[in-house]
């Protein structure tokens, strides 16, 4: 049985429905990441789980108990906020210990748990400091420490890393993931950063307009996106989308023809108009290779590889090539395309074919 379950949950602010009926099951010990663009309803979903937003209809259950109308405190979740939400007038020690103190935990246990958490998070030297005397990363660690001493049913993270600089974000990403593995606590993590989602999650829920576009493990999302939105959202640089037609076992892009891989040929048949999707990193040599000619406007050498940015038939196109690939700006070049990695989407519904 799943540990956290949303059943037909909706949320409306006045007349505006932000979450149409939503169903989601999260397993015990799972690291679930909700990801999507701003305003997609991921934070609202998390806040409904925490009890900070009322549910308009439907039910939420944690560990088999219906908590739809329970107060936040009765749900036994611990939450880490984007702005850390530390108590500014309390020391690190008091911040971590406060909830335990309120609930009458005995002194020895508090001291032990605070010491353990501080040890785990590298905060031992900072216990008597106030939050204002800590760096962003340290503050976020205090917020995490405050959550983990509670031994909750679930950790809820609301974009915890978005206020940190890029380098620290990568470090904390790993730390949080390791911590969650070690504790095995069910975790729901909200982010707008697809890299964060992919690297941390056991399972990623891609949301858009309050709807779950796809819920799957990171590799499935990448390799078999359910639709054009997911394909576009996951992966960086984003997938290229080109209007095409399929006819006679090949893809026709304007006057260029790319031969389909055998498994796609049997699956797709003759389709007429489709959206052809290919990731920049899949413009490489392979057993089922085609070629695509376009004119790059910008060349971005990144060291490990080079990005060619240009247009083809009016649509933007990015190709990722070897740093020594012979190319110059404004001149046509021909890049290989790995057709086994090609995706095809219905131009009307956006669903993957």
């Amino acid at each position: 049985m799943s540990h956290i379950r949303f059943a037909q949950v909706t949320k409306a602010f006045g007349e505006v429905t932000v979450i149409p009926p939503l169903d989601l099951a999260i397993e015990q010990g799972e690291f679930m990441v909700l990801v999507g663009p701003s305003g997609c309803g991921k934070t609202t979903t998390l806040r409904m789980l925490a009890g900070l937003e009322a549910v308009t209809s439907g039910t939420i259950a944690i560990a088999g108990r219906d908590v739809t109308h329970a107060r936040p405190g009765e749900r036994d979740c611990a939450m880490v906020f984007q702005n850390y939400a530390l108590y500014p007038h309390m020391s690190v020690r008091d911040n971590i210990a406060y909830a335990m103190r309120v609930h009458g935990v005995d002194r020895a246990t508090i001291d032990r748990k605070v010491a353990d958490a501080a040890e785990l998070l590298g905060l031992t030297g900072f216990l008597d400091r106030k939050p204002k005397n800590l760096s962003g990363g340290q503050r976020q660690r205090v917020a995490i420490g405050r959550a983990l001493v509670r031994d909750p049913q679930a950790f809820l993270f609301d974009e915890p890393l978005s206020n940190l600089d890029a380098k620290l974000r990568v470090e904390m990403r790993t730390e949080i993931k390791l911590l969650q593995r070690r504790l095995g606590t069910t975790t729901v993590y909200v982010t707008h950063d697809q890299v964060e989602a992919m690297t941390m999650a056991d399972r990623v829920v891609v949301m858009n307009g309050g709807i779950i576009e796809q819920a799957a493990d990171p590799i499935t999302l990448y390799e078999q996106p359910a639709n054009r939105f997911v394909a576009n959202f996951i992966g960086s640089p984003a997938m290229n989308f080109l209007d095409a037609t399929i006819d006679g076992g090949s893809v026709h892009l304007g006057d260029q023809t790319l031969e389909l891989a055998p498994q796609d040929e049997t699956r797709l048949g003759n389709r007429g108009a489709v959206t052809f999707g290919i990731r920049p990193e899949h413009m490489r040599h392979s057993a089922h290779q085609a070629e695509l000619t376009f004119r790059p406007d910008v060349i971005e050498p990144l060291g490990a590889h080079t990005l060619l940015i240009g247009h083809l038939n009016g649509a933007a196109l990015i190709a990722q090539v070897d740093p020594r690939f012979p190319v110059s700006v404004g001149e046509n070049c021909t890049v290989p395309v790995d057709m086994t990695q090609a995706h095809f989407f219905d131009p009307q519904t956006g669903a993957r074919l």
Binding site: R71, M79, Q82
Partner: protein, 295 residues
Amino acid sequence: MQAAPNRGDAVKYAFIWPAFLIVLVVTLFPLIYALTVSFQAVRVVPPLPPRFVGFENYETILSSARFWGSMWTTTIIVVVSVVFQYVLGFALALALHHNVRGADLYRVTFLLPMFLAPVCVALIARMIFHPYLGPVNDALDAMGFDYVPFLTEAWLAIGVLIVVETWQWTPFVMLLMLAGLQSLPEEVFEAARVDNVPAWRRFVDITFPMLLPLSVAVIFIRLIEGFKVIDTVFVLTGGGPGTATETLTLFAYNEGFKKFNLGLTSALSFTFLIVVIVSGTVYLLLAQRLLRRYA
């Protein structure tokens, strides 16, 4: 070699002098003038030439029972009414902050007393608490109680003054505390809610300490302002019965504008200034110790 800014450059004084002159003329001159007057015997009626008397005026004041009485009266009125103002103002601010039904309407009505001139407020209070014509005594009468001489019995009169001060200045405290409450980060309270901290603990452990610096400032402003109370007392009791409700400022007014004893009045003003500065400093020192534990 690039010279360092020329320290001898005379033009810099041209920029400083205007501001300094204005301060000198508007602030320092009256202050110093009043200070010199406080060391002189100056009487306008009957007109006598000013005569230097040293600390005589101050000695007169410090040995006058009326001065110590007015000091005591002022302190009682100010301290008690500021306590009420703070508690009530904070409570109202909390109520409004948590979006009571019709909070907008309340917000405006609660602020009204602050906009009224203290003289009007005192006049109305005088009517309300009038021994024979006032509605308060009418109500007491209707309930079968005796008339209460609100304004002619020393302790009752002080009580009425405290009530009027509280009524008028609670909105000020409420306004500032409400602004303070609204500036607090909401996520901190959400974190406490998720951690199952009951509402009263959230207030005691989070809201109150976080608003402590503001509270210190608000109370300080009200104490300083409160010490200057005169209009309410002047209209409501005129300092009576006897001098039982005479505040420091009213005492100074009576000396200056009824007896035209300007030397003594100046000395009284400076004594008053010293009292306010000393009590203000003591208050801030105590508050500082309290704040250091939190901030």
